[in-house]
């Protein structure tokens, strides 16, 4: 198969993820969308790696997965912490960092 298809799919996934982050209010969903964006990147990496014919892209994709896993751990931890303190699970309500 041609590499263009993969890239198109990857871009679509990325765009969906980005849109999700911009329009959703639940932190859990935002985290999911973030994963989607990261995996869109992974897909592009693997596709290009096959096209070029070396393994570096795949290795890099694995590194990205590790980072994603870490990020999820922290993100979910934050969400649990927010929940425990009985704060609203809505990113628009959590505006403590306003300058």
């Amino acid at each position: 198969m041609n590499v263009e298809w993969y890239v198109v799919l990857s871009s679509l996934l990325f765009a969906i993820g980005a849109t999700g982050i911009l329009i959703r209010r639940s932190p859990v969903v935002i985290l999911l969308c973030l994963e989607l964006m990261l995996n869109a990147g992974n897909l592009a990496l693997v596709a290009f790696s096959r096209m070029v014919g070396n393994q570096q892209g795949q290795v890099f994709a694995i590194v990205v997965m590790v980072v994603a896993a870490c990020e999820v751990v922290i993100g979910l931890g934050l969400i649990v912490a927010i929940f425990r303190r009985r704060l609203p699970l809505d990113v628009d309500e959590l505006t403590e960092l306003r300058g």
């Binding site: 980005a18 911009l22 329009i23 209010r25 628009d92 959590l94 505006t95 960092l97 306003r98 300058g99």
Partner: protein, 669 residues
């Protein structure tokens, strides 16, 4: 081992001692600290002797060695090494410094025994000896400056050793500030030397200087005058001398070591070391000589009226350093260095004796309150008498030979320099009078209560601890003198140190008798061989004639003192009444402190206040608050972006990246 290897060891021992005592003060018992301090200096002295033996093995012309451990700084054209220079002059200084220091450490071992800061004291004292040795062994002007600044610091730390006394801390600051003025002079001189000669190394500088400079060229005169600023500040010559009498706030062993025997002679050493430059700048040399002469007379007159025992001896130190400065400036190099050595012996001894008496008086230093110590403290008074005789140049004591050698040289040089002979003898008369004024007022007569207490019970008078200068009460826990006092009569280490110095003060001059041995001249001659002035040698007959005059003057001075203070006790009061204005002038130390205050301190303060009101308030504050307002306004604008909505941040991020991607896409096609 070579002479330089021994010299490195000489440097190493005091440094190790200082570090060991300074770091191990919790673990070491007090006696161990004193023992380490004394032993390291004694070891340094032995290494110094080994250095001398090594050096004597060379032929006289080859007695100079340079050695360096590593490069201090090396860049384009700049090559500074951590280097030392061993020649007869530095060896001589090393022996005097380590020898006298070892004895003073031994003395302090007993004297400071009850002080809470015992470890601190020995750590500082060892550090001082290290710095002083660095100063005399340095092989270039950079290292010399390092040693120079180190001794300044050590002096500061030891003057304000009893740091809870405000008088002591103030005296320490004064000494430090004036010494820094000297440091600046020395540093500027070193810069100028580097600019003109392209090197800091002694060897190179002294070799190229006669080729580069013509006699009395302004640059070499400027270099010498700047060196003199350094020398005068360190050696307490007019008008940078006011710190020395105040430095007597430190413990007496400190006055004995730093402010009599070693550090204050650094200026003399500096002039002797750079004599090659001073030969090229006779004007500067003459200025130095006349300053020395003025100092020796002014300090001598002040010493006549001082009622503080230690301060009187301090003024005598200034006066004797004046002789040395005259000596090394007019060309009597070996004589100046010889006087440095004998002065180190008898002045250290005098201070030790004074320390013992002050201890017996429970820190009281006023001689008006002292009398009759001759019966109460036999050993101390004999030591004081030995030191006094040598200082007053009593025939055949050490001071007798050294002082007159300088004056004999001045006579031999003739012309204008006869002034130095004549006024030098006037100074010698003053010296004999003020020395025996102290002795006759302190030793004979009816014992004062403190002396009586010592005679009756054998106990040292134990007053409530107080500051003799202000009368403030003191606790004795930390930063104050210890509760107990120690006198030589009851402390073996103090007695040994004083006995050795008394022997040297009486007989140390016999190494250099005109026409007989002249050991020191022969030893130091190779160093000064390049100076045309060293060819002037007073004949043996002239020297002995000078010695005869010196003996007569010394005896006359002692006689006058005896007449005024013993035979007719009322005479001095009558003289004071008769010569009221003169006495006021002397007692107020010729108003130097007031003059400096008026001419330097007050204008500087006024300028500072003016600058504070105008420049500081308008320009500096304006700039600062202007910057602050600008940054604050910027911050208020940028703050609007931080609205706390995570989604808007994400949008900003995505739009930004999209924009960047678009830009690169467009620009690449």
């Amino acid at each position: 081992m070579s002479a330089t290897a021994w010299a490195w060891l000489v440097l190493l021992f005091p440094l190790l001692g200082s570090i060991a005592i300074g770091l191990g003060f919790r673990a070491l018992p007090a006696k161990a600290a004193g023992a380490i301090g004394t032993a390291t200096i004694a070891a340094a002295f032995l290494c110094g002797v080994a250095m001398l033996v090594n050096l004597l093995g060379d032929s006289p012309d080859a007695r100079h060695h340079a050695s360096s451990l590593w490069d201090y700084a090396s860049a384009a054209g700049l090559d500074i090494k951590l280097g030392i220079y061993v020649d007869p002059l530095s060896t001589f200084m090393v022996l005097v410094v380590t020898g006298v220091s070892a004895l003073i450490h031994l003395y302090s071992f007993g004297y400071m025994q009850s002080d809470e800061g015992y470890h601190r004291f020995f750590s500082y004292l060892n550090f001082f000896v290290f710095s002083m040795l660095l100063l005399v062994l340095a092989g270039n002007f950079v290292l010399l400056t390092v040693g120079w600044a180190f001794v300044g610091f050590a002096s500061y730390a030891l003057i304000s050793f009893w740091y809870r006394r405000t008088t002591a801390t103030k005296a320490g600051m004064k000494a430090f500030v004036i010494n820094v003025i000297g440091d600046i002079g020395l540093v500027l001189a070193a810069f100028l030397i580097f600019r003109e000669l392209g090197s800091f190394d002694y060897g190179t500088v002294f070799e190229t200087a006669p080729k580069v400079f013509s006699v009395n060229e302004w640059t070499v005169t400027a270099i010498c005058l700047l060196l003199l600023v350094g020398a005068f500040a360190k050696s307490a010559q007019l008008p940078l001398h006011t710190w020395l009498p105040d430095a007597m706030e430190g413990p007496t062993p400190v006055s004995s070591l730093i402010h009599a025997a070693t550090m204050v002679t650094a200026g003399v050493y500096l002039i002797a070391r750079t004599h090659t430059l001073f030969v090229l700048a006779p004007t500067a040399a003459d200025i130095a000589a006349f300053t020395g002469l003025a100092t020796l007379l002014v300090a001598g007159t002040i010493a006549l009226v001082m009622t503080d025992l230690k301060r009187a001896i301090a003024y005598s130190t200034m006066s004797q350093i004046g002789y040395m400065v005259v000596g090394v400036s007019i060309g009597a190099y070996s004589a100046g260095m010889f006087h440095l050595m004998t002065h180190a012996f008898f002045k250290a001894l005098l201070f030790m004796a004074a320390g013992s008496i002050i201890a017996a008086m429970a820190n009281e230093q006023n001689i008006d309150k002292m009398s009759g110590f001759g019966r109460a403290m036999r050993f101390t008074s004999i030591a004081m008498l030995c030191g006094g005789l040598a200082l007053a140049a009593f025939p055949f004591t050490s001071g007798f030979f050294s002082k007159d050698e300088i004056l004999a040289y001045a006579t031999a040089r003739g012309g204008m320099y006869l002034i130095f002979t004549v006024l030098g003898y006037v100074g010698a008369l003053l010296t004999a009078i003020y020395t025996f004024r102290l002795i006759f007022r302190v030793l004979p007569g009816k014992p004062c209560p403190e002396a009586q207490e010592l005679i009756d019970s054998g106990h040292v008078h134990h007053a409530h601890p107080f500051n003799p200068a202000t009368g403030e009460e003191e606790d004795t826990e930390v930063g104050f003198p210890g509760a107990e006092h120690h006198v030589a009569e009851q402390s073996a280490p103090m007695r040994i140190a004083m006995a050795v110095l008394a022997f040297l003060a009486l007989f140390g001059g016999l190494v250099q008798v005109p026409g007989v041995d002249e050991t020191i001249t022969k030893f130091l001659d190779p160093v000064f061989a390049d100076s045309p002035l060293s060819e002037i040698v007073p004949s043996v007959g002239a020297s002995w004639a000078g010695l005869a005059i010196g003996a007569a003057i010394s005896l006359a001075g002692i006689g006058i003192a005896y007449w005024v203070y013993v035979l007719r006790p009322g005479t001095s009061a009558a003289l004071i009444r008769r010569l009221r204005p003169v006495h006021t002038l002397f007692a107020n130390k010729w108003y130097f402190d007031e003059a400096i205050d008026l001419l330097v301190v007050r204008p500087a303060l006024a300028v500072g206040r003016f600058a504070n009101r105008t420049f500081e308030r308008l320009v500096v504050d304006g700039l600062v608050s202007g910057t602050e307002d600008f940054v604050g306004a910027g911050g208020r604008v940028v703050r609007l972006v931080q609205n706390g909505f995570v989604r808007s941040y994400a949008l900003l991020l995505i739009v930004g990246f999209a924009g960047l991607a678009l830009y690169f896409l467009l620009s690449s096609s």
